[in-house]
């Protein structure tokens, strides 16, 4: 009965309080009211932004001061002059250059392969008719819920059997194509490759591979680029599996493992460790600054697609 009453009072279009207030207030008061509210908004946002960025600033503060300076109380909160010294120590402390190169090789190989295979599979799921399409695609989505980290032990045994322990292939091969990539590219192909174009290519006697090369690839490039960026980042940042399978082979260490070695070995020298950490973050920051629009749009698209 109470619901009924509530509904009827609301339902007859009776005006609420704020509408009256808005109408009755003079324009200036309304503007002040609005500014005060948006002032709070911006304060919260700027605070959140500061929290997001502060650790990077702090990285640089620690990395550019000497360890002795950072042990004083209260600590220094502004950058000092020692960044290059600390960075050199870090680069000499662990095989930093090799690790960067390894990470680059791993992340590039995975990215190229994921883009290639995911586009093929995404094209098949989006535009081709075949038996079991719906079921197989649902299956692909379902596999995303299986935590990959849990196959660690048999994966290690398997790599031992292949002779790939300590070899970069052990990190690359399991990630050659991902469920997320297939899912993403299916949505991209469905949204950006017009059926008419496929028909036309078909009429002109284009083979299926020709269609993929001349019609699908050019149309999906922007969506594929976003997938490529994220794939590269994930591969670059991956830690557990590379640690397990490459951990005992320093010449194959990726940057994340080198970083852990650095922090484990020299943990008393914060400034040096932090200089190394900063160096490892810089390549990502460059990528991010260049492509931040695509990456923000990608994260938001991903949510809608999901």
């Amino acid at each position: 009965m109470t619901t009924l009453e509530k509904v009827s009072t609301r339902g007859d279009g009776s005006t609420g309080r704020s509408e009256l207030i808005l109408r009755d207030r003079p324009p200036l008061a309304r503007a002040v009211h609005a500014t005060r509210r948006s002032g709070l908004k911006y304060t919260i946002l700027v605070l959140a932004l500061a929290v997001s960025v502060f650790p990077f600033y702090w990285m640089y503060v620690v990395a550019s001061n000497s360890n002795a300076v950072m042990s004083q109380f209260p600590p220094r909160v502004v950058p000092g002059p020692n960044f290059l010294t600390n960075a050199r120590l870090a680069v000499e402390g662990v095989p930093f250059g090799t690790a960067l190169l390894n990470s680059f090789v791993v992340a590039s190989a995975i990215t190229v392969s994921v883009l290639f295979f995911s586009t093929m599979a995404g094209f098949a799921f989006a535009k081709m008719r075949f038996r079991g399409r719906g079921g197989l695609f649902t299956f692909v989505l379902g596999t995303m819920l299986v935590p990959q980290q849990l196959g660690l032990i048999p994966l290690f045994i398997l790599m031992g059997y292949f002779g790939w322990v300590g070899d970069l292939r052990a990190v690359i091969v399991p990630s050659l194509v991902t469920a997320f990539g297939v899912f993403w590219m299916r949505q991209v192909v469905a949204g950006s490759v017009p059926d008419e174009l496929l028909e036309a290519a078909r009429m002109d006697g284009c083979s299926i591979f020709g269609i993929v090369r001349h019609v699908v690839w050019p149309s999906v490039a922007p969506g594929a680029a976003v997938l490529g960026l994220y794939t590269f980042l994930f591969a670059w940042n991956d830690f557990l599996w590379p640690l397990v399978v490459l951990g005992n082979e320093p010449s194959s260490h990726t940057i994340q493992i080198a970083l852990r070695t650095l922090s484990d070995t020299y943990y008393v020298n914060y400034s040096m460790v932090m200089a190394g950490t900063l160096l490892s973050v810089v390549p990502l920051m460059i990528v991010f600054v260049l492509f931040s629009r695509q990456m923000v749009a990608g994260a938001m698209d991903g949510a809608l697609k999901g």
Binding site: T3, S8, R17, S18, E19, K41, L45, A48, L49, S52, V53, P55, F56, W58, V62, M70, P75, A121, A124, K127, M128, R129, F130, V140, L145, P147, Q148, L150, G151, L152, P154, L155, F156, I157, L158, Y161, P174, L176, V177, E199, R202, I211, W236, N237, F239, V244, G247, S263, D264, Y270, M274, V281, F288, S292, R293, V296, M300, G302, A303, G306
Partner: protein, 348 residues
Amino acid sequence: MSETSKALVGSATDDERTQRRPKKRRQASHGPAHEESWAPYLFISPFFILFAIFGVFTLLYTFWVSLHDWSLLGGMNAFVGLDNYTRLLDDPRFFKATVNTFSMLLLSTVPQMIMALILAEILNDRLLRGSHLFRSGLLVPNITSVVAIAIVFQSLFARQNGLINAVIQLLGFEPLNWHAGRLSSHLAIASMVNWQFTGFNTLIFLAALQAIPLSYYEAAQIDGASRIQRFSRISVPLLRPAILFAVVLSVIGQLQLFAQPMLFGAGAGSTSGGNDNQYLTILLYLYGQAFQQPFRFGYSAAIAWMLVLMSAAAAALVFGINALLDRRENRAERRYSKARARSQEVAR
């Protein structure tokens, strides 16, 4: 061991082929590719082959390993049945790691979702200035590696010379030994997770918010709903699918918390998660058992399967809560429409 793996890998690929053959013949559709009916199967096969080897096979093989007394050095010893599992249930360290993992899971997921909802609501404003700056700024933590994050936060939370303790001291309080306490170490580790993922979830929620028609808000405003009411009565209920998605992702991810607790403890190869295992997590325990002395593969394979079961249970719980909320909403809706029908009758 090698023979088993070979056989399983072989059979997986064989399955793929036998599945493909009969379908090829029956296929007679009118898609753009009707001549090459094998093409779609060729295109999707890489994923399925890879998943057969590195997904299905590894999980089943994990189970097989978990039934044995199996070590890296000694190889497969004896079939012990479910012994590893019963030992695991009596293992106080496993129990502690489980409690720790769930504690950090709650400490990271709950505040993260609340903060992300609020930030998304604020960002969902077409007139907001600098919105790209805020969005990309919030996403930066998400693209940073966990190793780098853990190293920085480890230094921020350091007992001596840590910035957070310095601030506490300047405010006139006693500095805290963040690593030593159970709750304090969980808070420190959860703060890394929160820092990394709040922005990402904000963008997920923002995308979902932008899909809500503006007219809903305008109608509510005309009816006199306050800003907070509009947030809690319109935004949050309509965001439920997005929240569900984010929570499931977060739960599955945080059950596998590893790098943060590992790097939080300073010193070489610290897989103990603190002197008293106060921040040991399940995956860290698994790693320590399998890949460090005594290299107990069988035992840690059992841990892996427990983790699979826990992930499934946790996901089921989240989906269950969602279904419950759905039911309640439907009931409320039905009551509402019944009431409206009745009020219309009365009016007539």
